[in-house]
Amino acid sequence: MMKQMIGIAATGLFLAGCASPAAPVQEKVLGSSYTSIEKDANETTVRMYMWGGDEGINAYIDEYVAPKLKKEHKITLKRVPIETADLIQKLRAEKKAGKKTGVIDVVWINGDNFRNAKKDGLLYGEITKVLPNMKYVDPQAQGSDSGTPTDHLEAAWGKVQYTFHYDQASVAKPPKDLQQLKSWVKQNPGKFTYPEVTDFTGNAFVRHVMYGVESKETLKDPKADFKKTWAYLNELKPYLWKEGKTYPKTLAQLDQLYAKGSVAFTMGFNERRAEQEVKSGTFPKETRPLVLTEGSIASTHFLSIPFNAPNPNGALVTVNTLLSPDAQLKKFDGTYWGDGTSLDLTTLSSTEKQAFEDVPAAESTPKPAAFEGKVRAELDPAFFDVIRKDWPERVAR
């Protein structure tokens, strides 16, 4: 009996022991000068929670950013891989439970997840107002996150274009627009598919089809009936991989199919994303980029700080460092990641600007001219929801 009581008491203690000292108050941190923030961040640990599905991105953080922060600010950066949607759920639960000090200092966020985080008050505050390196950031990229105004709650970290990649060995004459894509798919059954619409990239593929086939009026109204979009997708369906009876659940699965040669196309936000995959031998050497005449949606991704970050000073310094021209250049470079920069290059010194222009592009990366006149703004998040709601019934079923 005694042993049992001890067991229960220990469990209780374990559960109670999770509390920790309170984080510095928001107003105090965001109201102080960057110099004092930097001083307070010295010799602290910063936990950065981010999507961990790409080895190049992980290597960029671990092999370049972490040593840089250690050297410049004695900050220890710990990267924690997590799905961003799970991260938002975690923060919501913490908010509900009244947990004033969490475990997350920096988050990588955009789109839906930002909209939800903003709505539920899960972010720290107007962080971009105190960061010196915001002066380099392109105001266009910074303004809104897939249609949701950022209101200084997050800082633009990178900007990418939706790009298709195909294997030149099996696609001799690449399609130029959606109509040609449809004919190609019909002539080559089983060699094309797209991720299902719960996936970020799959949902964006459907939005590209919307841009291509719907009228200007319907594109303004998320409540419209997108008949032409569903019709186009249903026409493709019987000729897709597995006859359209199923779709890859994630972009990672589509990439695997492409790497194996099961399909001839893959796609995704980030025009340079195939560089690393080709170099490491995952994607075929003959991988080439493709931008359709209907255009390519531009997407910006952001960094933010949760409402209950245990180390907001360290988090601010980390975000500021990630926005510095040299960190952005390293990220832009294909060595690790090859992510489009969120900086406005005209704000940089001429040598810094030149360095960006000197970064060589692989054959899998489209020339900047490929996007001329084709950059499309992201649709309102309400479109994302409509696609997720209607596609399963109108197309997948």
């Binding site: 042993k3 067991g7 759920q89 939800n116 009876k245 199923t246 998040p381 929801d385 997720r388």
Partner: protein, 254 residues
């Protein structure tokens, strides 16, 4: 009947499940439940999930029980061979299925008949049922069947009185565990399943995480419903079948 010190664990588990159920209930309204019953996507999802869960359960119990009966009389290392799949998690088994079944039509991953999901479950659950039932088989007293033979009982009756009554409840216990697990699982169907209709675990997770989160109440409603169904099953097992088998095995009721 509990051996060792089970009640702190029981208290903890009951507390966690109870609190989860309480939170889920507080997140839902009647409207969410009634909406579910007219939602064709949900109904098709629950249909395909029941098909997968029932076939995985029946097959793994049949094969597992047969193997346990066969190996009960043998000693040595052969039974340990069956323990190997227990060390590999379901997620690993699902990746094996992707690796080795991908090129098979009909059987492979992402097929409408869900065979690859069922096979993955069988690979893990047959050994589970086997090791669950092996000690029961080994404890069976063969003299009951010999007695039946002497009394001139038919084959069926001999089996029932000599083995059946002792096996019935453990078999149902194993079946319940496998059924409850396979009905609401996430990883295996997420990796191997088709886009439409999704298995209920995947569909619920999507409702919970996707978009502006306005459909979260429906996800909670589904988990309340499934917990309710499983609880009802458990109640039937423990209140009706267990007392019955105990009475029969003690020979009080024919």
């Amino acid at each position: 009947m509990w051996r060792g010190n089970a009640w702190p664990a029981t208290l903890l588990i009951t507390g966690m499940v109870g609190y989860g159920l309480f939170v889920s209930l507080s997140m839902t309204t009647w409207g969410d439940y009634s909406r579910l019953f007219v939602d064709p996507v949900f109904l098709e999802s629950i249909g395909i999930s029941l098909y997968v869960a029932v076939s995985s359960t029946v097959l793994s119990v049949l094969v597992g029980a047969w193997l346990a009966g066969f190996f009960a009389k043998q000693t040595g290392w052969t039974t340990q061979f069956l323990a190997v799949p227990l060390f590999l998690p379901h997620l690993g088994a699902a990746y094996l299925a992707i690796l080795y079944l991908s090129d098979f039509p009909v059987v492979g991953p992402h097929e409408g008949n869900q065979f690859s999901i069922i096979l993955t479950y069988l690979y893990k659950e047959i050994p589970f049922v086997f090791f669950y039932l092996l000690p029961v088989y080994r404890r069976l007293d063969h003299r009951y069947e010999e007695l039946g033979l002497m009394l001139g009982l038919s084959r069926m009756k001999r089996f029932w009185h000599g083995k059946g009554v002792f096996l019935l409840f453990p078999v149902l216990e194993a079946a319940f565990i496998v059924f409850a697990f396979t009905l609401f699982a996430y990883e295996v169907p997420a990796l191997l399943g088709v886009t439409y209709p999704k298995l209920i675990g995947v569909y619920t997770f999507d409702l919970y995480t996707q978009g502006d989160l306005s459909r979260q109440p429906e996800a909670f409603a589904i988990s309340v419903l499934l917990t309710g169904i499983l609880f009802l099953l458990l109640l039937i097992f423990t209140r009706m079948i267990r007392p019955l088998t105990e009475r029969i095995s003690k020979g009080r009721v024919e």
